[in-house]
Amino acid sequence: MSLLAVDGVTRRFGGLVAVDRVSLQVHAGEVVGLIGPNGAGKTTLFHLISGFLRPDAGRVVFAGRDLAGLRPFEICRLGLVRTFQIVRPFAELPVERNVLVGALARGATMREAQRTAQECLAFVGLAGRAQAPARDLTISDQRRLELARALATRPRLLLLDEVMAGLTPREVEGMSELVRQLPARGVTVVWIEHVMRAVMRVCTRVIVLHHGEKIADGPPAQVARDPRVVDAYLGEVALLA
């Protein structure tokens, strides 16, 4: 049985069909890349899966449970957490308190939560900055904080929305390494990313959205050669190589 099953999900905004009858499956232990040109509907799909938007049609099943009607915090407590494309740290709070939120919301005691927070901060390499206000972090560290915060909720499935946007090539390397280690922590990943080099290297499978529709789904190398994908990325072929 798949961990996440999206079945014929559709979402319209006025006349625009942002997500058009998309179906996909994610199995435990995978790192699935979700790519597509700007406006393809990737982030909207994340909103639909995580409960921030309601689908007009279709359904989302996580770990055998239909998520229809559940609010985002309830979905998070089931073990499905998402990050945001634009980092949204709790700016005035210290880094450690940012991460505590996730751990406490999943029902841990304060002591357990502190341990979880420390462990997650150590994992992303922010242990030394635990007491700094989140607003003082660099963009790269804020992305790491976003990851640590999400991991503190002890998710089974993590939806990452462009965790590499705005990072230097070296920072991209570091973040790729973190994402690669997630399955070993018991975290399955669906990952929206525009940095193709990282996607192609880290992901076990890649799904391509274009104009709200799924146009490809398979191993990275195969997807990169798919004529429909090359068409969608017309003029950007070099990116896929």
């Binding site: 915090f73 740290p89 709790f90 005035e92 206000p133």
Partner: protein, 329 residues
């Protein structure tokens, strides 16, 4: 080596020093009526009352970041409930204030539920709360059974049972206990799960929701607790002045009084409301005493000082001290 010792000592000092300071202040506060003149005692009462009212607002406006501009609603409900139950039904204000707190919490729940249900945030939430307070003011003004525009005069029957005291020092100790208790509650809140969730909601509702925080419930709890506490301020006011009318209870002045010390002292900090009130109330009294002869001049100067304070201390007195200490560390 010495530097290292200082680092190790820092946490202990950080725990001991506030306790010593708090103890000293509390002892001084308890002893104050013994030495204060009646005028000074009255200023002290109004200062503590201002700090209490501001701390009530701070729970929802400061920690949870829901900028209510209509706390007069809850204040007025508390004041009117107590006054009417006592004047018309003879119910002791000690019980009346609990009824008022319950009604105010219910009102806070309704206003909050409506606002959060329809996703009203920031200034829109503030406007809704303001509108509710104004509606209350107008309704009570025109409702004769509630005293109408004339208000309610509380019959004077001084005794402990009626929450009426012949000596001001008794009021002083009541409001001192209320303020100390609520400040202690704010300190406890900062260390609790609920307090952290409230701060997360203030910083970013969607991010908090995504991390598993029930943001609606968190805001409703903050609103209900704040409303109930604010109603008790209304009770204290009506017991102290023995009179309430629609403007005193539901007027915008009350809502502003609940907010201002937070802006000056530091919203979302346990000591901010107290610091703000300690600065603002005596200053206001002093200016009224010395400049009151020139109509409106003291208000203009007061307003100008507020503008300067807000520009110079965007995070309030407590915020400024924290930032300064953070830098020097």
């Amino acid at each position: 080596m010495a530097e290292r010792a200082a680092v190790v000592d820092a946490p202990r000092r950080a725990r001991v020093l506030p306790a010593v300071v708090a103890g000293t202040v509390l002892v001084a506060a308890v002893a104050a009526p013994l030495v204060a003149s009646p005028y000074v005692l009255r200023v002290l009462i109004m200062t503590l009352y201002g700090a209490y009212l501001a701390q009530c607002w701070n729970l929802v406006g400061g920690y949870a970041g829901q900028f209510s501009f209509g706390h007069a609603t809850f204040f007025g409900i508390g004041a009117y409930t107590t006054a009417l139950l006592f004047a018309r039904g003879g119910l002791t204000p000690w019980l009346g204030m609990l009824v008022g707190a319950a009604l105010a919490a219910a009102a806070g729940g309704v206003i909050g539920a409506l606002s959060f249900r329809y996703g009203l945030r920031g200034p829109y939430f503030g406007l809704v709360t303001l509108a509710f307070a104004e509606v209350c003011r107008i309704v009570v003004t025109n409702w004769r059974a509630l005293g109408g525009a004339m208000g309610v005069l509380v019959p004077l029957r001084p005794s402990l049972a009626t929450f009426q005291f012949p000596e001001p020092w008794a009021y002083y100790y009541v409001i001192l206990a209320m303020t100390a208790g609520l400040t202690a509650a704010a300190v406890a809140l900062e260390r609790s799960r609920l307090g952290l969730f409230m701060e997360a909601v203030r910083e970013d509702v969607d991010a908090a929701e995504a991390l598993g925080v029930d943001t609606t419930r968190t805001r409703l709890v903050a609103m209900g607790a704040s409303a109930a506490a604010t109603a008790l301020a209304g009770t204290f006011y009506v017991q102290f002045f023995s009179y309430i009318d629609p403007h005193l209870a539901f007027g915008i002045d009350v809502s502003v009084a609940a907010i201002l010390p937070n802006i000056i002292g530091g919203a979302g900090t346990a000591l901010g409301p107290l610091a703000g009130s300690v600065l603002l109330v005596p200053l206001g009294e002093w200016m009224r005493a010395y400049l009151g002869g020139y109509r409106g001049v003291h208000l203009m100067l007061y307003g100008a000082l507020l503008v300067v304070a807000i520009m110079a201390l965007p995070h309030g007195l407590v915020g400024a001290v924290r930032r300064w200490r953070g830098r020097s560390r």
